[in-house]
C-alpha cells in the first residue's frame, strides 16, 4: 500500500518519536540542546535532583544573553552579569558540556553560532531555552524554544514530551523587488496573519521567493516565526542548504556528507501533502516594511501613514491603536517617513549575520549617520569576517559604534539599552513596550532600512538610497 503523502514536519516528527502516550502526546528525541546563561534554572533543577546531563555530547553552551559588547578583554564590570556568565561556565564545566564561552573565538548569539558551526543540520530536532530557536528551522530542522522546566527535562533525559502541532504552509510566490529583504517578507507575513496567527501550528515556508533566499535570509524568516505565533518555522533543505553546510566544523564530511545529503534530500514535503492551513503572499507586492506600534504585527509599508484610531470602527482596536501610538510618541495619521529617530541598532539573532552587515554597509558606505548607533555582529566569527571585508570601517566612518557579539540591545539584559523615551530603528524582532529598555520606542525593519533611517535621521525608504549601488 502506498503511504499517504507526508509534509516535511510529519517526517521530522515521526523520525524523532520514541513513544506515544494515550493522550496523543509523544516523547521525542532531542538531537541538539543549546544552553545559555539563562539556562541556570534548568541546571539548578538538575542539581536539586542529583542528576547528570544525559547526553553532554549533544548539549552545547553559548554565552550570549548577558555578555558585554564592549571592553571584552577586561573582566566583566557588572557583578551580576559576571555571575551569570560564571554560572554558565561552571554549569557546563561540571557536566562535561562544550562551551563557546566569552573568550572563545567562535562565541556569538546561539542562533548564529549553531548554523555557523554546522551544529544545526537538516532533519534534526533542536531545542534551546529561547523562543527564537525557531531560527534553526531554516535548514529543515524541527527547532523550537522551550521553558526552564523543559530545559531541565532535556538535560536529564535528552527527550521532550510534545503534542503534535497542526501543519501550516506559508507560500511566498513571485520575485521580491530590489531592496526587499527577508525581514520585509517576515514582517509582511506577520502583518497578514497577526501576532497569534500561527499559534498551535508548525510553519513551513515555501514558494519561489523563499527558495530564492540565501541561508541568511531563511534564518531571518524562520527566526520571526515566533512573532507570528508559531513555535517553529522551517524551509525545505536544497542545494543552497547543502552548499552552506559543506565544510562547516561540526557538519559531516566526505562520504558521510554525501550520505547525509541523500538523506536530507528526502525531507521536503511530498507533492500533494496536506496542510491544515495555507497562506499565500505575492513577493512582488511586498515593499520595505517598518513597525509603528508595540507588537510585530503593527507593520506597514514605508510609504504609508500610521493608523488613526478615529478611522477605526472597532472600539477595542481603536483603544489599542491610541495606546500604542501614545507609547510610541507618534501622532495618529503621521506619514511613516516623517517619524524622526534618535538612534539605530543593527544586531540580534534576526539580523546580525554577514549578509545583514553587508546590506547595511551598502547603504552606509560613504555616508554619515545623523544619529548615534550600535552595531553588534551575530558572532565573533562574523565580526572577524566583517573586519576582513572592511565593513567595520564603513560603519565607523559613518559614525556608528562597532561592538562585540551578543544579544545586546535586542533584549537589553547585558546593559545595552535604548534610553527612556528615545526612538530606535532596530533590526531586532520585538517592539514590545520596554523591550529595548524602559520607555524605549522600537521600530523593527531590515538592516538596509535601519541604515536608511540612520543616514536620513528618520524612517525612510531604502530603495532610492540604493540607486546605482551594489545592494
Amino acid at each position: 500500500m502506498r503511504q499517504r503523502p507526508q509534509t516535511m514536519f510529519d517526517k521530522l516528527w515521526s523520525s524523532h518519536e520514541i513513544a506515544q502516550r494515550e493522550d496523543g502526546s509523544a516523547l521525542l528525541f532531542v538531537d541538539r540542546h543549546f544552553v545559555h546563561e539563562g539556562s541556570f534554572h534548568g541546571f539548578s533543577q538538575l542539581k536539586a535532583r542529583g542528576r547528570k546531563v544525559a547526553e553532554p555530547n549533544l548539549t552545547f553552551g553559548i554565552a550570549d544573553h548577558y555578555v558585554p559588547t564592549r571592553d571584552r578583554d577586561r573582566p566583566i564590570a557588572n557583578a551580576e552579569i559576571a555571575e551569570m556568565v560564571r554560572k554558565l561556565e561552571q554549569n557546563t564545566g561540571d557536566t562535561g558540556v562544550t562551551l563557546f564561552g566569552l573568550r572563545d573565538p567562535r562565541q556569538g548569539i546561539v542562533h548564529v553560532v549553531g548554523p555557523e558551526q554546522g551544529l544545526t543540520l537538516p532533519g534534526l530536532l533542536i531545542v534551546c531555552g529561547d523562543s527564537h530557536t525557531s531560527t534553526h528551522g531554516a535548514f529543515g530542522a524541527y527547532a523550537f524554544g522551550i521553558g526552564a522546566s523543559e530545559v531541565a527535562h532535556v538535560l536529564m533525559t535528552q527527550t521532550l514530551w510534545q503534542k503534535k502541532p497542526k501543519r501550516m504552509r506559508i507560500v511566498v510566490n513571485g520575485e521580491a523587488t530590489a531592496g526587499i529583504a527577508a525581514k520585509d517578507i517576515a514582517l509582511a507575513i506577520i502583518a497578514r496573519i497577526h501576532a497569534d496567527g500561527a499559534q498551535g501550528h508548525a510553519i513551513e515556508y515555501a514558494g519561489s521567493a523563499v527558495r530564492a533566499l540565501s541561508m541568511e535570509g531563511r534564518l531571518t524568516l524562520c527566526n520571526m516565526s515566533i512573532e507570528g505565533g508559531g513555535r517553529c518555522g522551517m524551509v525545505a533543505p536544497d542545494a543552497t542548504t547543502f552548499a552552506y553546510l559543506k565544510g562547516r566544523p561540526y557538519a559531516p564530511a566526505g562520504d558521510d556528507f554525501d550520505r547525509a545529503v541523500a538523506d536530507w534530500s528526502m525531507l521536503p514535503s511530498d507533492p500533494n501533502a496536506e496542510f491544515d492551513r495555507e497562506v499565500t503572499l505575492d513577493a512582488a507586492a511586498i515593499a520595505p516594511i517598518v513597525t509603528w506600534g508595540t507588537t510585530p504585527d503593527d507593520a506597514l509599508p514605508i510609504d504609508q501613514r500610521v493608523p488613526d484610531p478615529a478611522d477605526e470602527a472597532d472600539e477595542a482596536r481603536a483603544a489599542y491603536i491610541r495606546d500604542a501610538l501614545d507609547y510610541m510618541g507618534v501622532r495618529p495619521g503621521t506619514k511613516l517617513t516623517d517619524v524622526a529617530i534618535d538612534r539605530v541598532f543593527i544586531g540580534s539573532c534576526t539580523n546580525a549575520r554577514i549578509e545583514d552587515l553587508r546590506a547595511a554597509a551598502a547603504v552606509l558606505a560613504g555616508r554619515v549617520s545623523k544619529v548615534p548607533g550600535l552595531i553588534s555582529p551575530g558572532s565573533s566569527l562574523v565580526k572577524k569576517q566583517a573586519e576582513q571585508e572592511g565593513l567595520d570601517r564603513i560603519f565607523k566612518d559613518a559614525g556608528l559604534e562597532w561592538a562585540a557579539s551578543g544579544c545586546s540591545m535586542c533584549v537589553g539584559i547585558n546593559g545595552d539599552l535604548v534610553p527612556e523615551g528615545e526612538r530606535c530603528a532596530s533590526t531586532t524582532n520585538r517592539n514590545f513596550k520596554g523591550r529595548q529598555g524602559r520607555g524605549a520606542r522600537t521600530h523593527l525593519m531590515s538592516p538596509a532600512m535601519v541604515a536608511a533611517a540612520a543616514v536620513t535621521g528618520h524612517l525612510a525608504d531604502v530603495r532610492p538610497l540604493l540607486a546605482g549601488r551594489k545592494a
Binding site: 535532583r49 555571575e83 522551550i146 527535562h153 501576532a195 499559534q199 505565533g229 556528507f257 520596554g434 524602559r438
Partner: protein, 205 residues
C-alpha cells in the same frame, strides 16, 4: 508540583490583549534567583511608574484585588519570549489560574509545569467574566478543573485545556519521573537512530 483541582477565589481583570512575557516580567529581573520573590516584580512596569510609585488604576494595585488568585486576561496572554520566569512571577504573586481567550504557546506549557492553570474561554465569555468581577470585585469565582467549568455569579462557563495538561495539573505530575519509566524505549530508539541517521549521531555514543 502542587495539584490543581478546584479553586474558589477572587478574580482580577486584566483585559488588554497581548500582555507578553516581557510585560509580565521585564528582562532586568531575569537575573533574580526565584527565591528572591519574583511575585513582587510581576507586571513591574505596568504596576509602577518610572519613579517607582504604584499606578492607581492598574487592577492589581486596587485594594479589592490584592488577594486575587485568579487572573482574567485578554487574548494572547504570555506571548513573546519563552522566559519561564514569567510563569514563576505569576505563580509566586499568588495566582493559581489565568483565564484568557488564548495564551502564548510556550507560556501555556510552562504554566502546566508549575501548577498554574491556563484556562481558555471564548472572547465573549472572557469579557463577560471580566465585566462581572469589575462590577463586583468581592465576588468569588470557582474554577473546577476536573469539570472544566468556571462559575461566576449565576453563570457557569466551560473552558478548554489540553488533556495532557489537565491530567498533569490534576495529578500534580512530574514529567521527569514519567520519562524515566521510558528508559528502555529511549535506549532502543538511540540504537536504531545511530544506524538510520549516523550523520545526526556524529557526537552520540
Amino acid at each position: 508540583m502542587e495539584k490543581f483541582t478546584r479553586l474558589t477565589a477572587k478574580a482580577c481583570p486584566l483585559p488588554q490583549p497581548n500582555i507578553n512575557t516581557d510585560a509580565i516580567l521585564p528582562a532586568r529581573f531575569l537575573k533574580w534567583p526565584r527565591d528572591k520573590g519574583l511575585g513582587q516584580v510581576l507586571f513591574a512596569d505596568l504596576r509602577r511608574n518610572p519613579e517607582g510609585q504604584e499606578i492607581a488604576d492598574f487592577p492589581l494595585n486596587q485594594p479589592a484585588w490584592q488577594d486575587a488568585k485568579i487572573l482574567v486576561a485578554g487574548r494572547n496572554f504570555g506571548g513573546g519570549s519563552s522566559r519561564e520566569a514569567a510563569v514563576y512571577a505569576v505563580y509566586d504573586y499568588g495566582f493559581r489560574c489565568v483565564i484568557a481567550p488564548s495564551f502564548g504557546d510556550i507560556f501555556a506549557q510552562n504554566a502546566v509545569k508549575n501548577g498554574l492553570l491556563a484556562a481558555i474561554v471564548s472572547d465573549a465569555d472572557a469579557a463577560e467574566i471580566a465585566a462581572a468581577i469589575e462590577a463586583d470585585p468581592e465576588r468569588m469565582v470557582i474554577v473546577d478543573l476536573p469539570q472544566q467549568t468556571i462559575v461566576c455569579g449565576n453563570r457557569s462557563y466551560g473552558f478548554a485545556i489540553e488533556p495532557v495538561s489537565k491530567s498533569q495539573l490534576v495529578n500534580g505530575w512530574d514529567d521527569i519521573d514519567l520519562t524515566d519509566s521510558y528508559r528502555a524505549q529511549i535506549e532502543t530508539f538511540l540504537k536504531r537512530d545511530c544506524e538510520l541517521r549516523p550523520w545526526a549521531a556524529f557526537v552520540k555514543r
